[in-house]
């Protein structure tokens, strides 16, 4: 707590100093347009939403959405769920149909990685060597899966459709799967592959699941649920290595928390050890980068040298780090990896591009979902380390919510198969409605009655 406060003050102090002392023309005033409109780099949730909001907010210039992938923006969450299970097909994943791009005059440049960017001349360079000119630029470059070095064939990561197709292909003939990393994507892959009849083991370096992204109470429930459905879990894993036969995976080696060595037969391994934000272009543009592209509450990027906002360049989604009052560490900037964040921050970014500044700062309540087996998990708020947690509903029935409190205030709610609690919790948090742990724990108490009318 105390350290958080100190860090928070430091961060605020640094920004304030930069604003007052160093104005070298790197940021601040908006440059006059010299031609060729808005370019959005990255075709996913944030990129598509920036285009839509910029048009809705009245931007009439040219818009180009440039993306490295061969597909127009599509929904990623099903890749580890319905798509992996074979219950959803590619056509059902579109975020916006062809009519959107035609009617809103958004030019799509597919299979076009941008490899260089220049702020003085306001250009981008494609991998094919073409130069693209821009007046306004949006970075929606997202994040990429972290990988392990030197892995044999059939050790896969899962971030995009090409990865998912490869995974589906290898999984079709695999019997033994090892998932490395017990985060949401690893656990979803484990659940789906287990449902497809594979023998699945999750190997986790920490001593619990979801160490980065969930409260211990929820993580324990998820661990029990996976074990009960046949997934094996190995915690405290060290020295993870791969056995192979002529370069093709045959097994995963790891020692457990007690130091015992295990060799797990495997014809497929899925590596889910987190993501790294794609910040290279921002760095080339002289923008502030700190494990994420730093943006202000209006989604403007920040000049690295002066610390001043750059009004003609915005960023949104998984690639950014932004100020947020929802952060349990007050004053620290936050990097989120979620559809909600990509979509809601992009709405701010699009409005800022069109209008100079969005009418409202970015302040949406963070929420996230994950589907594993028959469990629909929905999380809202950023809980940090709660000092009080109460359960609403019955854990044994797989239908309940955990209400987390810090300093007497509700800070987050994890729901399992209780979408109504989740939807209500979003409103409780957004309106900062006071709720007591006693009220939350009492299933007979109507929490809706606390909401302002």
């Amino acid at each position: 707590m105390a350290i958080g406060d100190i860090l928070g003050e430091l961060a605020v102090g640094i920004v304030a100093e930069a604003v007052s002392s160093a104005f070298d023309g790197g940021g601040g005033e908006k440059k006059p347009d010299i031609g060729d409109g808005l370019i959005i780099v990255g075709g996913s949730y944030a990129g598509a939403q920036i285009a839509a909001t910029a048009r809705d907010a009245g931007y009439t210039g040219r818009i180009r959405l440039v993306t490295a992938e061969a597909h127009p923006p599509y929904h990623r969450p099903p890749l580890s769920k319905a798509y992996l299970l074979g219950k959803a097909e590619r056509d059902s994943l579109t975020i916006r149909g062809p009519a959107f791009y035609e009617q809103e005059k958004v030019e799509l440049l597919l299979s076009t990685p941008i490899v260089a960017a220049d702020r003085t001349n306001r250009t981008l360079t494609t991998s094919g060597g073409d130069t693209l000119k821009w007046d306004r630029l949006a970075l929606a470059t997202g994040a990429r899966a972290r990988t392990l070095p030197g892995t044999p064939d059939n050790v896969l990561t899962l971030r995009d459709l090409a990865d998912a197709d490869r995974l589906r292909d290898v999984a079709s003939s695999a019997a033994n799967v090892v998932v490395i990393g017990g985060g949401y994507i690893g656990l979803e892959a484990a659940a789906s592959l287990s449902q497809l009849g594979k023998r699945v083991t999750v190997v986790e370096m920490q001593d619990r699941l979801l160490a980065r992204a969930a409260t211990p109470a929820l993580a324990q429930f998820v661990a029990d649920a996976h074990r009960a459905r046949g997934v094996e879990l190995l915690f405290g894993a060290r020295d993870v290595g791969f056995d192979h036969d002529h370069g093709v995976l045959t097994g995963v080696r790891a020692s457990d928390a007690a130091g015992r060595a295990h060799t797990l037969p495997a014809d497929l391994a899925v590596v889910g050890i987190g993501v790294s934000p794609n910040t290279e272009l921002a760095a080339m543009l002289g923008l502030a980068v700190d494990d994420g592209i730093r943006v202000d509450e209006f989604a403007c990027c920040i000049d690295a040298a002066s610390g001043v906002a750059v009004p003609e360049i915005v960023a949104a989604g998984d690639c950014t780090r932004h100020p947020s009052r929802w952060n349990p560490v007050q004053g620290m900037e936050l990097r989120l990896e979620s559809v909600q964040n990509a979509t809601d921050q992009a709405k701010i970014a699009g409005a800022t591009l069109a209008e100079g500044q969005a009418p409202k700062p970015y302040d949406a309540v963070p929420w996230f979902w994950s589907d594993q087996f028959d469990l629909k998990l929905q999380m809202v708020g950023l809980t940090g380390v709660p000092d009080v947690t109460v359960t609403r509903g019955d854990m044994a029935s797989n239908r309940f919510s955990l209400f987390h409190f810090r300093g007497g205030a509700l800070v987050g709610v994890d729901s399992v198969n209780k979408p109504a609690d989740h939807m209500l919790a979003r409103r409780l948090l957004a309106t900062q409605t006071p709720v007591t742990p006693e009220q939350a724990a009492d299933a007979a108490f109507d929490l809706r009655s606390t909401l302002p009318t």
């Binding site: 062809p98 979408p419 109504a420 939807m423």
Partner: protein, 107 residues
């Protein structure tokens, strides 16, 4: 292909042919009909694909399951007896001519 009638926020009516096996949500998304956000892409997690179904069409739909009913409690616009999540309405020949109305907001 079944035709689904979408009534937009401004009252415009759009008759759209939507392929069997897709959803009323996808029909709107694929044709850039604004008013359905569908942030979760049909995972039944976001409640931003809310529509009001024409009352006389309600009987043609399979009733909402438990998850959909709970999510409907949290829709941003007014919840009415005809409220449904359009990602959960699978398009079949039996739904030809179905009419849905976009709510005033999704978030």
């Amino acid at each position: 292909m079944p035709t689904i009638n979408y009534v937009l926020k401004d009252g415009t009516r759009r008759a759209i042919e939507v392929p069997n096996g897709t959803s009323v949500m996808l029909g709107a998304i694929n044709n850039n009909l604004r008013g359905i956000d569908a942030e979760c892409g049909g995972c039944c997690s976001c409640a931003t694909c809310h529509v009001y179904v024409e009352e006389s069409d309600m009987a043609r739909l399979k009733p909402a399951d438990a998850v959909e009913k709970e999510l409907l409690e949290g829709v941003a616009a007014e919840r009415k007896p005809t409220s449904r999540l359009s990602c959960q309405i699978d398009v079949t020949a039996a739904l030809d001519g179905l009419t849905v109305y976009m709510p005033d907001r999704q978030s």
